[in-house]
């Protein structure tokens, strides 16, 4: 094996990172003194501080099973593996939602693999999703990829809780990691489209997206600033086992902390959440602490100890068994 980092908790250089206290001030000024920890049903989650996780409360559904036309370097469709497979389900999207609701599900993430244009085929499920939202009262989140006008119009009819998508500000990342014939401008156009249809955008920025290097993250943040979203999510590249992606070095704690700080200052009134994907083990603990220091509003699957850490900062922690920003 080369020096590639596997999924395992990576080695990292311990550093003492000081986050500018102004970040805490920004959070206090614009938000209540609380932080929300999110735990969707994508994985089973139990720590010394939280034992009440439910994998059925918020469920992810893939409309394409484990299939994806893009074969992105950092994913290779592995992100779809833990989701319920609509293609293998004997029934429609509405039937599946109905069955889940009977079992106590309160929200769903409708996801799936993309076509070669980077779009998840959601359009044919719009009527079912409208029904599921109206009749079952489910919170509906979507992963549309890069939705076109028609998809945005449909999603607006669904009354979705949020539209989650990666925003990429670097051409090399789009071409080499995503294998997409798109440009950063296409991503900005999608943000504009979501804004125009009054859809609750939840853009994600992946730190270290280009094989662990930070290239387009700042440009992505600039794009997002133009269309302040419902929530912004920051995640950190986590090279999944079996993808073959060779990552020799992840962003340093310093780079990550600086970006948290910049994000907080750039979007003072937008809830910012540290999302699911990030390195595990000791590095995760440090990253999570920095997220709280930087005045972020939430964390997904927090490291053990973060509830106490939040309390020490005078912030009231609460848990929601769902995706970032969902509120029952």
């Amino acid at each position: 094996m080369s020096n590639a980092l596997p999924l395992y908790a990576p080695q990292f250089a311990p550093q003492t990172i000081t986050i500018n206290p102004i970040c805490q001030e920004i959070r206090k000024e614009n938000f209540a003194d609380k932080v929300t920890f999110y735990a969707p049903g994508l994985k089973q989650y139990s720590t010394g501080e939280y034992k009440d996780h439910s994998v059925t409360e918020f469920v992810s559904i893939s409309v394409t099973g484990e299939n994806c036309a893009l074969d992105c370097e950092h994913c290779k469709s592995k992100s779809l593996h833990g989701m319920l497979d609509l293609m293998n389900f004997n029934g429609s999207m509405y039937d599946m939602c109905d069955r889940l609701a009977e079992k106590g599900t309160k929200g769903v993430l409708i996801s799936g693999g993309s076509d070669i244009h980077g779009q998840v085929p959601l359009l044919k499920h719009i009527p079912d999703l409208i029904r599921a939202r109206k009749d079952l009262g489910l919170a509906i989140r979507v992963h549309p990829g890069l939705p076109d006008e028609e998809t945005c119009a449909g999603l607006a009819e669904v009354d979705v809780d949020g539209v989650m998508l990666d925003i990429i500000g670097d051409q090399e990342t789009i071409t080499e990691i995503y294998h997409l014939d798109k440009t950063p401008q296409d991503y900005e156009d999608v943000l504009e489209r979501l804004h125009r249809y009054k859809l609750p955008a939840i853009p994600h920025i992946i730190l270290g997206h280009y094989y662990g290097k930070m290239l387009g993250e700042w440009a992505a943040l600039e794009m997002i600033k133009k269309y302040p979203p419902k929530t912004m999510v920051l995640v950190i590249l986590m090279p999944l086992q079996g993808t073959g992606m060779v990552v020799e070095k992840l962003p340093s704690l310093d780079e990550i902390g600086s970006f948290f700080e910049l994000s907080r200052k750039s979007l003072p009134q937008t809830p910012i959440i540290l999302g699911c994907a990030r390195p595990m083990g000791p590095m995760k603990l440090e990253i999570d602490k920095m997220a709280l220091d930087a005045g972020l509003n939430g964390l997904a699957y927090p490291a053990d100890g973060m509830v106490e850490y939040a309390r020490e900062q005078g912030v009231d922690p609460n848990f929601i068994n769902a995706c970032c920003g969902v509120n029952w």
């Binding site: 395992y8 908790a9 994508l42 139990s46 994998v55 086992q241 083990g281």
Partner: protein
């Protein structure tokens, strides 16, 4: 979609609740690891912590924690006793468990103190195949029954 196949060596005991395998030697030393269905449920392991050598544990108590692609949680002792060794190689590189779960991927060795009372709650011998089939069925339908 192809049906998944799982390997369950027949010379081992299995903790049906937590999907751990156990291998016993003549001195009541029990080697403990994660079985095939358990590993499939977890996804790729990323990070393992284990209680230190010398720790007394009761069956069902936590002997460590793990972080994996599909789970963050405790590792539970399948028998009561004292931890007499831990597999540091797996702590340093959990990928060993993913690659060779029944050999190099063992986690701890426990000197069992209640083996005679506790082993009848484990699965082995002629009970193994029906249990595997029932568990596979449960896995396949778990999306709606979890």
């Amino acid at each position: 979609m192809a049906k998944k196949e799982y390997t369950f060596p027949t010379d081992l005991f299995y903790d049906g609740k937590n999907h751990m395998w156990l291998k016993k030697d003549g001195d009541n030393h029990i080697l403990v690891g994660i079985d095939a269905i358990g590993l499939d449920t977890l996804g790729d392991l990323a990070y393992i912590t284990l209680k230190p050598k010398g720790t007394e544990v009761k069956k069902g108590e936590s002997i460590g924690t793990l972080e994996a692609a599909k789970m963050t949680g405790d590792i539970f002792a399948p028998v009561s006793g004292k931890i007499i060794s831990i597999n540091n190689a797996c702590v340093e590189n959990p990928g060993i468990v993913n690659e060779d779960q029944y050999n190099k991927g063992w986690l701890v060795s426990i000197e069992a103190t209640e083996w005679e009372n506790e082993n009848n709650q484990l699965i082995s011998g002629e009970n193994l195949q029906p249990w595997i089939e029932a568990e596979i069925h449960r896995m396949e339908t778990q999306g709606f029954d979890a």
